[in-house]
């Protein structure tokens, strides 16, 4: 029997709460404009009638399409082929003194980051809608992810980057067949030109800032954590936070499984930003208004000085009883090495920021060995070997004799 995605029953503005019927609104809220990012609505009673834990137990679907009944896409026919999601959840028993610590390794996605979850849903929508091309402004994981999925789908892909974007990242986009426009200006200039071009040419917009379907892809990481822990929801989940989309998705995923009766609670969600770029944390702790900032952190994938999905993120964290925190670049680089050395999971700086936040929380005593904790690792360390070089120690220089090796081992043992 052909499996089908979820029927979208409407949209709700994340700012003013106004609801829309399907087709009533194009992308963002009619009242709030660009500020009013929409949330996708479903009829969960309807979904619960046709989708159960038993279905998942039987499922041999080796990707996040195992949650198709909760995703806003049509039939299986039009799903992208690149295998996305259903990534490993490793039990990092005893790491940081925590017997119940788990690491979700989302670098094991087709373009090596969690962004693929969002892109896969966007591509499914784009194909259903019969668009001529897909587009985004991005120098990082979102751009690479879109380029990869567009290549697999045979759709033209246009990526807008600032002219000073790093050559290796641009090279990856080009190798994956994207047309890359190097815009003479800042990232904001690239973003604005991308928006204009997308509107003019009718391309599909892969931007969490306007497209409500992207968060829907990201929520599957929470579904997977539930299923992989046999529906025994952890006490705390640590999540890196940049523009707020991942946190929005993580909250929604946990809330949906609770709503369907698959689980009994939503875990405490702890969002971790980089100290050099923490406007969502400041909005959460203070005025509840967002004050954009200049980003200054090595964690480039979450260096988002003007986050768009901060309202959804803040709402999710609050509803979960969690909090937002921030860690410095030194803690992030230290976290990169500690996570890799203790689990074999090698993440980029943004990818390990949640782990760095956990290290801090353990030190402060807000996480204890009684807690069951999941850390979300969002992108491969291979994406940023510069930072790996900063985080790494030194090789031991030796001559060619065994005595050299013996001496070096002895010296290290004495340290």
């Amino acid at each position: 029997m052909e499996r089908r995605g979820a029927t979208v029953t409407g949209f709700a503005c994340a700012k003013c709460g106004r609801e829309y019927a399907p087709g009533e609104v194009a992308l963002t809220c009619g009242d709030c404009g660009a500020e009013g990012i929409l949330d996708v609505l479903y009829d969960y009673d309807e979904i619960a009638r046709e989708f159960s834990r038993a279905d998942l137990e039987r499922s041999r679907e080796n990707s996040h399409w195992r949650y198709l009944p909760l995703l806003p896409v049509g039939s299986e026919e039009t799903l992208p082929v690149l295998r996305t999601g259903w990534t490993p959840l490793y039990h990092a028993e005893g790491v940081l003194g925590l017997p119940h610590l788990y690491v979700k390794d989302d670098s094991m996605n087709p373009t090596a980051s969690l962004k693929d979850r969002a892109t896969s849903v966007a591509m499914a929508r784009a194909v259903e809608e019969g668009v001529s091309a897909v587009a985004a402004a991005s120098t990082g994981n979102a751009g690479c992810s879109l380029a990869g999925f567009a290549a697999a789908q045979g759709l033209p892909c246009y990526i807008f980057v600032p002219a000073n974007a790093p050559a290796p990242k641009v090279a990856q986009l080009l190798v994956l067949g994207a047309t890359v426009f190097a815009v003479d200006g800042s990232y904001d200039d690239a973003f604005n030109l991308a928006s204009e071009a997308i509107a003019t040419f009718g391309w599909y917009n892969r931007s969490c800032a306007v497209n409500p379907y992207l968060v829907e892809g990201k929520k599957t990481v929470a579904h997977e954590i539930c299923e992989q822990l046999d529906y025994d929801v952890p006490d705390k989940v640590f999540v890196p936070v940049g523009d707020g989309c991942i946190m929005s998705g993580v909250y929604k995923g946990f809330a949906e499984f609770e709503r369907l009766g698959f689980t009994e609670k939503v875990p405490e969600l702890i969002g971790v930003q980089a100290e050099g770029c923490d406007p969502i944390r400041r909005a959460f702790d203070g005025s509840c208004e967002l004050v954009p900032c200049e980003a200054d952190t090595c964690a480039d994938s979450i260096a988002c000085g003007h986050p768009r999905n901060w309202r959804k993120a803040v709402k999710g964290v609050r509803a979960s009883g969690g909090r937002l925190t921030a860690v410095g670049d030194d803690a992030i680089l230290d976290g990169m090495a500690r996570l890799a050395k203790s689990t074999g999971v090698f993440g980029e700086p943004a990818g390990v920021t949640a782990f760095a936040g956990l290290v801090q929380a353990v030190r402060e005593g807000s996480v204890t060995p009684d807690d069951t904790v999941v850390v979300l690792m969002t992108g491969s360390g291979l994406k940023d070997t510069e930072s790996a070089m900063r985080a790494a120690g030194e090789a031991v220089s030796v001559g060619r004799s065994l005595e050299d090796v013996e001496r070096a081992i002895r010296e290290r043992a004495e340290i």
Copy 2:
């Protein structure tokens, strides 16, 4: 019920054919010395009694441990946790004009290369044998793979590299917690010192040149191809060839499934070397003697001037009715971009060498649209962004106006 690995019934020398009972020999053949790499033997009649296609159909094991009954490891208890194998096989329909082309993306392994298959079996053995540490000489994927698995297992890991090894690769080893010895000399010096230290300190040796169990891990990629094609064995499988271990494993995997009656044939195996380093191809085409060479190719992961497992590889290719071929660096870089653009699979140079060989074969007419072809892609393009920059085209420089974008698109359409 606890699942168990296969019982090793003996070993056979790949050079002279002499057989040994388990325990009778330490690592290589007593007669042939270092030249006599061993092949692991099993009782396939025994295995066939307890392992069937129906078992696989029922299996929800999301890794290559689904083939545990064919692997020389003990119980499930001691298996490494990093999720290895069961990587996607993508139908690249119509690419290169071939309706029946499939790409096996083995970059989706824990350290982003096929080497993880071999490491996972080696680590399982190391843990069973209760070793104090693991070690290897490597500047590349094998070293990173061993460091990652050792980190996850909490075992010390010693890697020997030549002093001039590239800093980013050394950084990855260090971040993953390996002790890296930078040996004042060449790769051969590092290899020799590693062998001496391993023998002296009793570390576990992760080298295909001496340890017969590593090829056993690599054979699972062939098992997966069979299962993913519903046991309808392809006509031809293209495999990149460096030291010969992958080809040895691929042949063994296909031969085993035929022996068990799961499939009806072994496919034609086409090994592809880099022109700048093709001693196995020359041995195959000519004298059947190996003449080592200086390696000169961008495909560093198969730049192996003195391959150790060439005999097993040549034997496998011959038994399959296949052949060995070679492609130049330009073809490899072109293959990197063509594969990425047409499928979204972004590989390092060695990883795409088999695809470059297929491009050549299609041009020569030795592969036609009637053929069902599988191409093995062995490592992530993120491991070598330098080469990606050489393979990539150029970004389109534009100002900040829509007219710039329109003009650029028009100009590209005219090309």
